[in-house]
Amino acid sequence: MDTTFEELGLDSLDGLNLIFELEEEFDLVVPDNKVQEMKSVRQAVDGIEALLEMKAKGIDPNAVAAEEFAAQQAKLNEEKDAAS
């Protein structure tokens, strides 16, 4: 389950295609920043399950992703300010 796609011989383009197939199969949208987190079989399964939960609850994953991204950027800026 922890085997990475790279270990399975898939390159980044193959990875993108895999995500596409998963989106088709489960009728989901995987936000760009989530794709980065799906590098192994386990991560992909966890990622898809989380998205399916959001779908069931009517939560828009892109909105969630945008919030997470904004929070991430804010944290990075804080750390930068703290360092300087």
Binding site: L13, L16, N17, F20, E23, E24, V29
Partner: protein
């Protein structure tokens, strides 16, 4: 060399069709043309990509790439060249294509706009980019020399091959896989061509007084160009020598040609080749069968060759292969080179009525056994871009 064309998917059948003056122009099968004013094209037939490419590779190949890569593989096998480390280091891939993966794009846009399908596989850009063939061939054969693609409408192929020739001549490369491919037969593109009113509803009759426009074609041709001494040293099978390349711009109009530009490009090709006009025995014309091109081209030939124009033979093999746009110059180079090697000049097919504005020897309908010392192959593109290649027979 290698070729995939509407008149044959290998050199032997391609040459056979040319020699017999057999056009590959038929009712279009790839697309429903009910709503178009024209219904014929020269389509590649009997080409089975599943048999040529494994699934994993085919996934990344638009038809224009399928034609280009298949032709490149033929050229590699035909050349007998060894892919040594040195060869791979000093060889590049220089291709022409004016549309790239237009069929892939057309399908993607159709799904998006007509069916609202926004989720698409991440394959369109690597498939559709015009340099896809150059990249695929370089990857497959491991070639790391100068590699790029030229896009100059109907002159794309000649510009690519001319650059390959010059890069070898100047010592940047020892060899190049060069040529072009095109697959324009998709709904959107055919519709775009219809609006220009230059495609014939009849057939392709270059130089005939009753010509009524061009016929679209598709396919690809690829060559191995090698520095001459190296080729001789390894005992290569040499079809002909590439000896000159001439380019010019009309600076005139987006679609109407100007003969001065065409004759300048031919003259420059002769100068680059160190050939006198009298040494040219055959010209493979651009010969699209539009009213404008054919008379313009004949005037340009007279201007360049003077009295010798009446002694040379010209023909348009587009009368058989159709106009494959970016691939045209490559398919025509194959025809020209085979004509020189086999000492038979291919005809202008479908010729019916002589036109006083095209009063040159156009080799009507039947090929002609004739040895020539040297030949030109013309490409005169929309936007006034002219590129001419000069080939000379190689007698070993």
């Amino acid at each position: 060399m290698g070729v995939i064309s509407p008149i044959g998917n290998d050199l032997d059948s391609f040459w056979s069709s040319l020699r017999e003056g057999r056009p590959g122009i038929r009712t279009i099968e790839k697309v429903d043309t009910t709503h178009l004013r024209f219904h014929k094209a020269a389509e590649v037939r009997g080409f089975n990509p599943e048999e040529i490419f494994d699934d994993k590779l085919l996934f990344w190949l638009d038809p224009f790439s399928q034609y280009g890569v298949a032709a490149a593989r033929q050229a590699l096998a035909d050349s007998g060249v060894e892919l040594s480390d040195k060869f791979k280091d000093r060889t590049g891939v220089i291709t022409g294509s004016c549309l790239g993966g237009k069929m892939t794009e057309d399908e993607l846009y159709r799904k998006l706009y007509a069916e609202g399908i926004r989720r698409q596989p991440p394959v369109a850009i690597p498939k559709a980019m015009s340099n896809a063939v150059a990249s695929q061939v370089s990857m497959e054969f491991g070639l790391t020399g100068a590699t790029f693609t030229t896009s100059t409408a109907c002159a794309s192929a000649n510009h690519a091959m001319g650059q390959a020739f010059w890069l070898i001549r100047q010592g940047t490369l020892d060899a190049a896989f060069t040529g072009a491919s095109e697959a324009p037969i998709c709904t959107g593109n055919l519709h775009a061509w219809e609006t220009m009113r230059v495609v014939s509803a009849d057939t392709c009759r270059p130089f005939s007084k009753d010509r009524s426009g061009m016929i679209l074609g598709e396919g690809g041709a690829m060559f191995v160009f090698e520095e001459l001494e190296a080729a001789k040293a390894r005992g290569a099978k040499i079809y002909a020598e590439v000896v000159g390349f001439g380019m010019s711009a009309d600076a005139h109009h987006l679609t109407m040609p100007a003969s001065a530009g065409a004759s300048k490009a031919m003259r420059l090709a002769l100068e680059d080749a160190n050939l006198a006009p009298e040494q040219i025995g055959y010209i493979n014309a651009h010969g699209t069968a539009t009213q404008a091109n054919d008379s313009n081209e004949c005037k340009a030939i007279r201007d360049t060759f003077g009295s010798h124009a009446d002694k040379l033979a010209i023909s348009s093999t587009k009368s058989m292969t159709g106009h494959s746009l970016g691939a045209a110059g490559a398919i025509e180079a194959a025809a020209t080179i085979l004509a020189i090697k086999n000492e038979i000049l291919p005809p202008t097919a479908n010729f019916k009525v002589p036109d006083p504005e095209c009063d040159l020897d156009v080799i009507p309908n039947e090929s002609r056994p004739q040895a020539v010392e040297a030949a030109l192959s013309n490409s005169f593109a929309f936007g006034g871009l002219n590129a001419v290649l000069a080939f000379r027979r190689f007698d070993g």
